[in-house]
């Protein structure tokens, strides 16, 4: 959807100097490339597999948070980054996929029995897997053709699932650590603020009347 916002959206919101969207992907993939390179060249410390796995998951959560920040940035601070939201959302998906592949292949060595047991028995894995499953239809429909095919409203409704994914990702992070270290709680708090903002806004502001009806 991002592509067409620029024209009518120009009136609403301060549009930053535009950069090609491909640049978002290139910059976005730098951490992944660096992580794999550092992993192969033994620069990720004593437990490189675990480092890679966790870092990829963390980047997925960061990009997820970035997509959720775009609307509040526009509404509150008049900063319009809507043009880049699809790229950032897809980066979140790609990182989640890399995180999952690392878990399946490097961590569990494709041990199907162990993986199935993990998914069924370990809530943090169950939640992590469910979060990834939620992201799949969002990634698959992140293109103009899907929006046309589905219609804007249905598409927007489907993409509200990103809220569930963000909650799942934050919870997954909290459940994987021992005790209550600060970092996962900070990420959870950011997700809570970004979703809470939407909830409050929807309660305060009545849904805007349809143009067509008026």
């Amino acid at each position: 959807m991002a592509g067409r916002v620029s024209a009518p959206g120009a009136a609403k919101g301060f549009v930053l100097p535009q950069v090609p969207k491909i640049l978002v992907y290139i910059v976005g993939f730098i951490p992944a490339v660096w992580l794999f390179y550092a992993g192969i060249t033994d620069q990720l410390g004593a437990d490189p597999m675990r480092y890679l796995e966790q870092a990829l998951g963390l980047w997925a959560l960061r990009f997820l948070i970035a997509t959720l920040a775009i609307t509040p940035l526009r509404q509150l601070f008049n900063v319009n980054l809507l043009r880049y939201r699809r790229a950032i959302g897809l980066l979140a998906f790609y990182y989640a996929a890399l995180h999952l592949i690392t878990y399946l292949v490097l961590d569990q060595g494709l041990d199907v029995a162990a993986i199935v047991a993990d998914i069924l028995k370990r809530p943090y894995i169950t939640i992590g897997m469910a979060t990834f499953v939620i992201l799949v239809p969002l990634a698959v429909t992140s293109n103009n053709a899907a929006i046309r095919r589905m219609g804007g409203q249905a598409w927007a409704r489907l993409h509200k699932l990103v809220y569930v994914a963000a909650i799942g990702a934050a919870l997954h992070f909290i459940l994987v650590v021992k005790s209550w270290p600060t970092e996962p709680l900070v990420y959870a708090a950011i997700v809570a603020v970004l979703l809470g903002y939407r909830l409050v806004r929807s309660l305060v502001k009545k849904p805007s009347p349809r143009r067509r009806a008026a």
Partner: protein, 314 residues
């Protein structure tokens, strides 16, 4: 009990060059230690001479680099690299270990006296962390039983309680928004567990005094239990008649028990304990290996738990 003939060359004798040179410099272990202890802040890495032990494993050692850079020592932060980065601020000299409670001879031992009066042994043990990774570490230390015998526990003493130093000003990880654990860190063993010859108080690793991040100047090593039982930087050992509180058990009783014996068939509620990753093995492509009952020390310790339901008393 299996007494293995020690191999001729201990893998730990193959030490990094700088350590080897350092050793040459000091020549005499005792002299080096005395010198190190006289320096402010305790200083790092003084050589320790130690005799070999039949309890040592001949498995490949985890590198000194990994052993001293990948640590859980939450007083210095929850990140694995926090202790190595931040534990320098801990002042390990002077250091005293107070031994009290139900003993005939309560005492306060200066660390250098403890080391001087003990026959130090090299114990190469597997270390299995509750998080699912493991190492092989050449500790230097002495049997906990030696110390216990010196203070003459009373008949009423049934447990041994341990306490880590409580020094927020030297331990930056203690100051967090939500305390990750209740401080000071406390641990405990049943007296018969503590008397088991495998249980040691370690004062060194890789032939030198303990680096701060590994629990300097003195820590517990109980290789058949998960790593968190190995309380670090001990300042107090008390003999008591009731099972003492232990830090991780207080934090999450359903996840961490008092016994915390390595047991592949009893999962942590949030993850499996059936397998482990050996640190330094395979890098990015590390292959999991099966975790052994009592971390492979069943022969020496299984009899301590006869008749106990280890599913309930995890």
């Amino acid at each position: 009990m299996l007494i293995r003939r020690p191999s001729d060359i201990l893998p730990s004798e193959i030490t990094p060059r700088e350590v080897y040179l350092n050793r040459r410099q000091w020549m005499s272990g005792a002299a080096g230690l005395a010198f190190a202890a006289s320096l402010p802040g305790g200083l790092s890495a003084a050589p320790l001479s130690a005799v070999k032990s039949p309890f040592s494993t001949d498995e490949k050692l985890t590198s000194r680099e990994d052993v001293t850079s990948y640590n859980n020592f939450y007083e210095f932060g929850t990140g694995k690299d926090d202790p190595a980065a931040k534990a320098k601020s801990l002042k390990t000299s002077p250091w005293a270990v107070k031994v009290d409670g139900m003993v005939g001879k309560p005492a306060e031992f200066a660390i250098e006296d403890l080391i001087k009066s003990s026959t130090l042994e090299e114990r190469i043990y597997r270390m299995r962390c509750v998080e699912g990774w493991s190492m092989v570490i050449p500790w230097v230390g002495f049997p906990l039983a030696d110390l216990i015998k010196r203070v003459e526990p009373l008949g009423s003493a049934k447990y041994v309680a341990f306490e880590t130093a409580y020094r927020p000003e030297e331990m930056p990880g203690m100051d967090t928004v939500f305390p990750v654990l209740e401080w000071p860190y406390v641990e405990g063993l049943r007296l018969d567990e503590a008397m088991n010859p495998l249980a040691i108080l370690a004062v060194g690793l890789y032939g030198e005094t303990l680096p701060n991040q590994n629990g300097a100047p003195i820590r517990l090593v109980v290789p058949w239990k998960y790593g968190f039982k190995g309380i670090k930087s001990i300042t107090r050992i008390s003999f008591v008649d009731k099972q003492p509180a232990t830090s991780w058990n207080k934090q999450a009783p359903s996840e961490y028990g008092f016994y915390a014996n390595v047991n592949p068939s009893v999962d942590h509620p949030r993850w499996s304990q059936a397998t482990e990753r050996r640190i330094g093995e395979g890098g990015l492509f590390v292959k999991r290996r099966p975790t052994l009952m009592f971390n492979g020390y069943a022969e020496q310790v299984a009899s301590l738990y006869t008749g106990m339901d280890l599913r309930k008393l995890y």
